[in-house]
Structures are given as C-alpha cells and as structure tokens.
C-alpha cells in the first residue's frame, strides 16, 4: 500500500523533472547576453567567439543542447562552469549545503518559537503574551525579510558587535561559530514562517477548544494544559507540517536577498551570480538541484502527512 503510493508519486515526479529542466533550459537561452562574449571581453574577434561558442556547445540547437545536457546529467555530470571551470555539481552541492543549513535553522527557529508562542498564548488568553502572539503572527508576515535583515544587522552586529555581519561557518566545522554566523540571517528568514506557524497553530487550537467533545471534557474537569497537549497538538500538527513543507520552498527563494546582505555563499547567491554572469551551465545545475530538493521535501511532507492522518475526527 505504502509502496504503491511511493511508486505513484515517483512516476509523477520524474516527468515533472524533465519538464522543469526543459522549461528552464529554453528559458535560459532567452536571457540576452552571450556568455562567450562575456568571457572573451575585448578579445572577442569573430573567430574567437565562434570557437568559444563551439567549445561551450552554444552553437547547437536548443534540442541538441538540452539532449547533451540531459544525457550527461543522467549519469551524474552537470558540466563545468563557463567562467571558473569549476565542476557544477561540486559547486552546487557545497553551496546547497550552506543554504540548507541556513534554511533549516530558520525553520527550526520558526517552528520552536511559533508553536511555543501559540501554545502559551492559548494557555493565557487575553494576557500580554497572547497579544504579543497575535502581533507576531500579523506583523511577521508583513515585514520584508531584507528589511528585517538590515535591522538585525544594524543593531546586533554593527552597533552592539555581538554577532558577525558576514560569512557562514558550517555546523560540522564549528557548532558555536555556526550558531553565531547563522543566527541573524535565519531569524530574518524565519520570521515569516514563525508568523505562519503561530497562526496555524492558534487557529487549530481554537478549533479544538470549540469542539463539543472538548467542551464536554472541560465540564468533566479537563485542564487547559491537558487539552492542548493531548488533543490540540494532534489537531495542529497537520497544518504545521504542511506549512513547514511550503516554507522550505519559499525560503529557498527568499534566501537570495538575505544571503546577499550577510554575504553568505549559498545557493541563492550562486543562482543570482549565474544569472548575472550568464553562466548557463551553472544556472541549470542550480535550478535542477533546487527543484529536486523542493520536490523531495514536498514528497516527504506528503508521506509524513499520510502517516499522521489516521482520520482524527472530533466532530
């Protein structure tokens, strides 16, 4: 049963990958600006250009180029950067590792603070913390991440000097350095997620509180705390899982701006650089890996969802 679900999903995903990469491929060629010209600069004589275009494979038709790329990609070769000669898969994976750590931290922060805020606010309705939770859940979605990033940077790095303003240290090299380097950017990234999680959690909890089942339980002496932890979280976990899944996709995009502000060499910066430089080989690799990761995460979300959903019904 589970296997059949898995196969079905895979069968759906594979053609989707072909379509996405093809769309991206044809799209890339629409971007004006010739990478051969960019590489050669003032030495761009007609012969030089023709030679370099041939070397990069740019003189072939779209379909041939796509086919060549696809056949190499299928055996795990994403080619080399037009500019630096760096292997695309090496570059993409090392940069993706950075962004993934950043985005995951942002989501963990969003999840921990979002759920805590929602739960605490339900335990003390009307209190300042409840008001704060409401404020966070509305304001959080309205503050652009780059604005928050600048604000955090100005206060905690430049004025107070508590945290570094640039760079990234991997969790696996230096956990403390990692936390210091990633804290501000991940808060800037995660604020929206925190707001969304608080919101979904709160409304799911409210829903539970208003069911007849819980009202009856209340009358029999069930405490608010018990309600939240025994029934509320069950009900809230599904929308939160969905939100987390969606957040991964959104933050992979949003990270572009935050990485620029904090000078973090992640996949977002690599994507922008490759677009700006017309490094098509690199861009194609970046998009492919991003799409695969997002598909995998959606897939994981679906599986978790199906595992978590034994049709919990209160009505």
């Amino acid at each position: 049963m589970f296997l059949r679900f898995l196969t079905k999903r895979l069968l759906y995903v594979i053609p989707m990958l072909f379509i996405t990469t093809f769309i991206v491929f044809s799209f890339i060629l629409l971007i004006p600006g010739d990478p051969a010209l960019a590489i050669l600069g003032e030495n761009a004589s007609d012969e030089n250009l023709a030679q370099l275009r041939a070397q990069l494979g740019l003189d072939q038709s779209l379909l041939v180029q796509y086919w060549n790329w696809l056949t190499s990609a299928l055996v795990g070769d994403l080619g080399e950067s037009f500019f630096t000669g760096e292997s695309v898969q090496e570059a993409v994976f090392s940069r993706m590792g950075i962004t993934f750590q950043l985005v995951t931290t942002a989501i963990v922060i969003a999840f921990v603070f979002g759920t805590t805020l929602a739960i605490v606010s339900m335990m003390k309705p009307g209190s300042w913390i409840d008001e704060f939770a409401r404020l966070v859940s509305t304001m959080g979605t309205a503050i652009p991440n780059f604005l928050l990033a600048m604000l955090l940077l100005a206060v905690f790095s430049l004025s107070l000097g508590w945290l570094p303003a640039t760079g990234f240290i991997s969790l696996f090299d230096d956990p403390i350095g990692f936390v210091r380097s990633v804290l501000l950017p991940s808060i800037a990234l995660g604020a929206v997620g925190m707001a969304q999680i608080t919101r979904h959690m709160r409304s799911a909890l409210i829903e539970v509180f208003e069911t007849d089942y819980i009202r009856t339980a209340f009358s029999k002496g069930l405490s608010v705390r018990q309600t939240i932890f025994h029934h509320g979280i069950r009900n809230a976990i599904l929308p939160v899982v969905t939100t987390v899944g969606i957040l991964y996709g959104n933050l992979m995009g949003a990270t572009v701006v935050v990485e620029t502000i904090f000078s973090i060499p992640g996949i977002g910066q690599l994507a922008v650089d490759s677009i700006m430089q017309r490094d098509f080989a690199m861009l194609q690799g970046v998009v492919l890996v991003m799409v695969v990761i997002i598909i995998v995460i959606n897939f994981a979300t679906d599986i978790i969802y199906s595992l978590l959903d034994p049709r919990i019904k209160y009505e």
Binding site: G33, E90, G97, F100, L158, M276
Partner: protein, 510 residues
Amino acid sequence: MRAAHQMLFGTVILSALSLAGCSNDERVGATSEVKEHEKVIVAYSTDLNTFDPVFGSAGSDHSLLYPLYDTLVSFDEDLLPQPGLAEEWEYLNDTTLELRLRDGVTFHDGSVMDGEAVAFNLERATSEESYISDLNAVESVEVVNDLTVRLHLQYPDSSIVLALADRAGMMVSQEAIEQNPDQIQRAGVGAGPYELVAWETGEKLTYRKFDDYWNEGEPKAEILEIQVMPNQMTRMNALQTGEIDFATSLPAGEITSLSDEEKFTIVEGSAVPVNMLYLNIASAPLDQKAVRLALQHGIDRAALNEAIHYGQGEGAYQPFPSSYWVYNDELNNLYDPDYARAVLEEADLVGTVVTIAHYPEAYDERVIDILRHQLAEIGIVVNGQAMEIQAGISAYFDEKSVPSFMSRWTGRPDPQMTMTMLYHSTSYYNTGSYSTEEIESLLAEAAGTIDNPERRAEIYDEINRIGLTEEAIFIPLTFQPDIVAMSTDVKGYEPNMLGKPKFQMLYKEP
C-alpha cells in the same frame, strides 16, 4: 503523536546531514594553526575567473593573480616601470627589447624560472588561443642564455614594457602547464610571494607564504585570505565588526562614517579607471557631431563628482587623472553649457533623445539622474536604459543596439594602451569604428616614441584635444576615488594608480 515529531525532525536532520556532509573546509584546515597576526584577511569585490593569465579578460582578476604570479616588469605607485622578474631591460634598437632576468628564481613547484620559461610563457601569451592582445607587436622571442631573453617586434610599441607588468608578464610554471594545462585555470603555479592553498569559488581564496620566494623577507604575512564580497556595504560591515582586516573599493561619503573611529586607517588613492560614456558614433543620434559635442560640453563634472563622491574623487575631462604623468593641465574644464546649447541650436537638434545604457546599481542610477537634469538644461533628453552588466556589454559592443553605454574604462598599465583602445578605429572599445587620420597617425607616432616620455605626453595631449573637444569620441565623467580601509594594525599598503591593489604587501604588526 510524539513519534510523529521525532519523525519530522529526523527527516529534516538526516537530509541536512546528507547535504552538508560535503563541507569543503578540510583543505584549509591546516591554515587555522597560524597565529592571528600572521594572517591577513582582505575583502575584495569580485571572485576570480581563472588562474590562467592567458585565458581571461576581467580586470578584476589581477589583484587575485598578483600574489601568485610575479610579473616580468613591475610598476610603482605612479605606474612607472620597475624591475620585476626582469632586473633590467634595454632596447637594442626600435624593435628589439632585451630583458635581463633575475637569478635564482623558482616556481612554487620547484622548477626554475629562467630564459626558457620566459620564452615559453611569452609564446603562450602570443599564441592563437591566448586572449591577450597586448603583445601583438611581438614577432618572436629569442633565448640568448639562461638569464637573457630578446623580444623581436614587428613594429615599435612603446607599451610593451608595461604590458609585461600585466597578464602577459605573469610567469606560470612550464612544468605545471605541461602536466595539466586545464588544471592551471583552477590552481595556478607561479613564482610569486604566495602559493595557493584553496580557491573556494564565490567565497574566498587562501594563499600561503612561498618559502623559496626570491625576495627574502617577503612576504611578511604567513597566510593571505581574500574573501569575495561583491556588495560594498557588506565589505564595510565586515570591517566595522572586525571580521576582516582590509576592505577594498569602499563607497565615497559612506566611508566618512568610519573615519570617526580610531580603529581604522582609510587611504584614498587616485587611479586610472575612469567612469565614462562610451559612444557608438556609427549610430543615430551620435553620428551627429553636434550632439556629441553638446554631451561633452554640457556636463558639469565638478558638480557631478561632488554629488556622487561627496568631495572625494575628481571630475574627468580626459582619460587621465590629475596625478598621472600624462595628465594635461589645459584640458581641465570643458563645461560650457552656453556653447553646448548653441551647438545644438545651430544644428537644429534641440530636444534630441540620447539613449544611455547603464548598470542597475544605486550608484549608476544616481549618476544618470544627475546627467538627466544637467543635459535637460542644454536641450538633450536622456533616456536611461538599465541593463545588468552582461546584457549591457552584449547590447552595446556586440549587437550595437544602444548608442551609448555608461561604464568604466578600467585602465591599463601604459597610457599607450588606453589611448589606442579608446581612440583607434580598429579597437574593440571604439564601437562605431570612428577615428580620424590625424589621431591615428599620432597614435602610431606615440607607439614609436619609446625613449622620450615627455614627447609621448605631448602627443597624447594633442590626441585628447582633437578626440575630445573636436570629435567627442567618448565622454569622460569622473574618477571614482580608490578608497580602501583597514584596521590600524595592518601595514604595508601602497595604493597604485592602476587601481589594482597588490595584497601581498599587507602584513600585521604583532
């Protein structure tokens, strides 16, 4: 339901592990043992394109190549030639240049830097596949003995000596190239003061002191780390928080906010890169000389410079800054709005629309805004068209779809190169292939003036006078100040007029 929580976290962490497992820091691990004061961290604006000097055209690469590659000729802060790997040189006649090499120089791989190696490199630089065009005059290279090499030229070229201070003069180990020519692009092997430890693309380049460097006592720092930070605000931020020791190309004006603090030394230099309007004279409306002259005389560079550089930098009425040896005192103010307007009126061209491609950066937009207002007053309508760098280069130089391009002339070590590339009709940068016979014969004369700098400077004065005030072949705008800042314990910095700092001279006081 707890199981569900664990499941969720488990998935997240597992996938994080699988992705981040390929962290790329192992290679650099060894450098962390170095004491803090033996390591200099620089923030630089641009990543390298290639370590192979003959394949590459970006002027931003030089500062990242210099630590690794010593050049045959060097230059001082005024851009005058100085001994490099060649201790001295001499013109045997107009078309024969003899280089006498330094003894006892080795490459990072231990091979010897001798006459053979120089000939190999120069032949490589002049070969078909090389991107270098500075040595077009070179017909052949003769190895006289281990330490003497002669360049035989097809025609005299006064810029050859300083061309050997540029890409063409960067000596790469022959053995390394012969072993694996492609490898050089990612990991160069030269005879410079530093050898490469790692190049983490988009992030940083790490160099380690080369123990067998010919110049004893240099370099003074053990490790040189150059971090790539494209955004100037990020470079400021990193310096402010002490994450780096030295930051390049900082914004004028903004830098004054750092100068209050005793923690930083700020050095403002003047350099040859000039912000200018490239004009395609073959395309309308710039084929009308009246429009070009109106642009040339209708822009108040002093006001422009003040507004964008806050009193730093200087306005440009010629392609040379005032501290350069070829600067002409007389060509210091072409601003004459009445004349500009009169020229336009006479040609009945008031209201002409000039489309200018420019970069979508805050700085460039500010300049375009100011030009729009200044030129509106004399009767030219500026139509700014923002294009990111590659789109702009393609549109202006290749497709020729925009008549004018606001960009930067990055400068060359020798003024002859600059003059030829900006004025000669066959130059790539002269998009409309427009020049005059007089200018071209003057250029040829300057090329042949190899031993008389004063005469050369006079010829350039004449070319600039004709080319700018009579023909308006391009429109110089401003010299952006070359501002660097460093923490006060960093020593050794000397600005150079090329605007391409040599980071190998930096060190910290313990």
